[in-house]
Subunit: 330 residues, 2 copies
Amino acid sequence: MTHRLPSYEGVLDAARQIEGVAVRTPLIESPALNARLGGRVLMKAETLQRAGAFKFRGAYNRISRLDEDERRRGVVAFSSGNHAQGVAAAARLVGTPAIIVMPADSPAVKVEGVRSFGGEVRFYDRWSESREAIGAAIAEERGSVLVPPFDDPFVIEGQGTTALELLEQTPLLGGGAIDQLLCGASGGGLIAGINLVMAERSSETRVTVVEPEAFDDTARSLAAGARVGHPQGAPSICDALMAPTPGELTFPINRRCAGALTVSDAEVAEAVAFAFRQLKLVVEPGGAVGLAALLSGKAEAKDRTTVVVLSGGNVDPSLFAAIIEGRFGG
Amino acid sequence: MTHRLPSYEGVLDAARQIEGVAVRTPLIESPALNARLGGRVLMKAETLQRAGAFKFRGAYNRISRLDEDERRRGVVAFSSGNHAQGVAAAARLVGTPAIIVMPADSPAVKVEGVRSFGGEVRFYDRWSESREAIGAAIAEERGSVLVPPFDDPFVIEGQGTTALELLEQTPLLGGGAIDQLLCGASGGGLIAGINLVMAERSSETRVTVVEPEAFDDTARSLAAGARVGHPQGAPSICDALMAPTPGELTFPINRRCAGALTVSDAEVAEAVAFAFRQLKLVVEPGGAVGLAALLSGKAEAKDRTTVVVLSGGNVDPSLFAAIIEGRFGG
């Protein structure tokens, strides 16, 4: 465990570390979406990243730095699914074994994804067990290195490379200043990495966090000025965004967010269906919260340039089918 | 109707004509696909084009050149659906009315697409009526300009801009020579435009046409050395690729193809499902024939660089749901 704080310089270093290994995902503009919203929207398609989500960036930035002895002992991670797959994919590339602690109710597609990258899966109960404790126990028992889903400087800095790329890509699309950036948050690692970059390079951009209604811990924490949780027990189709509280390392960075929004499951399902129909992109519910905020009108897009991160595309076929056929009762 | 032949110079002119209006679609590389095939595959995602298919390029290149008088009278087009939407979208941008003659069994999503762009739809029976005759009659009656789906120099040259873009994008991905390029064909407008460009700029690339088994008229014509049709009556899920014979203008150009392949409905369905699961892209059956040729092993991808055009993404939700859930009985 490193005890330094994540930094913008660390993101620059992460970009060098993942170059040629992570996918430089496209920044996509849709005339149909622009016309509907009356503004300009640029979508960073992390759905096209290795293992189908931004998580590979942070995982590879951490795991590729293991020394030889650590590589022999392997890594352990706890995750709702996308970090799980990112860690398994990075571990395979680095040549180190990975054990992944996943909620028993993880989408099958994510469990299969971990196994397809050679990762070993250990299930736990999301509501009664502590994944942190289970992960720590395995790490101690095997001497493996724990790769946290967000509270780690290398992980946060790896995720921040998403923002470096989009700042390089915006001018290629003829774009000027980015007025706002919408990004989902669970533990807040991605948006923290993004905030590190935007503070340095595009401080005029309003970075807004978007969460599922039942998992609005970042919004509550921003309002309270301190890390607090959300009332537990309500479900969400956004399986990727169900962390109970913001991270210790991520929250101090994310306090610079200009705003916080929440979206309902029905709004998220509508965004997933819109992405299928109009954008021809497969976006998972948790990856579509920013788009949902735009389509629902909760985030204003008119007469401005908005960047929205489509953070992942790992969705079970049965749920996706129900959503695009209008059979989802969210 | 223009009587000149399509040319490489015409493609360069088309690129200037559509610049800033058509989407410069990304060239996408998937480490998962590369690993599976043991080679390098670059996918030109025309699924992300305006109106969800490459067809907008040719339609806009033709319609934006109408004079004032022609714009008042409007355009007419016959199409299985993607050209229909491309013409309707281009006509709206240019400010001219569009009547589209479509098969009565067109996917609902394509009919809705045409209407959403303000196009007027006239249905015909695919097996008993001639769409060419109906289109010509409307053109005569209203004085509208007919925008053919493929047999028009401006249309072919517009489609060819796809190849200009991918040649500019390949070096950005660190790529060297393109060993082969796989592209579907119905009337052959897209692959003809591509052939014009590759002959001039990348003559070492083997351009291979891919067709549905039951609509292999280009393969038969290449073998016969003359335009011939296919036995009629068999169905295909590739609604976009059901032209009866190669075009008069396209076939002479497409004779330079290095090869021809056919794929079954089951192979196409597997490619659509793979694109959903692994690539996170929505590809319609007719847009996935090149990918199907790769995944089925009919086109060899090992130890070489292949470009495959994902030509469209307009698929009805019910068919897409059946395919991704494994309920398609193709």
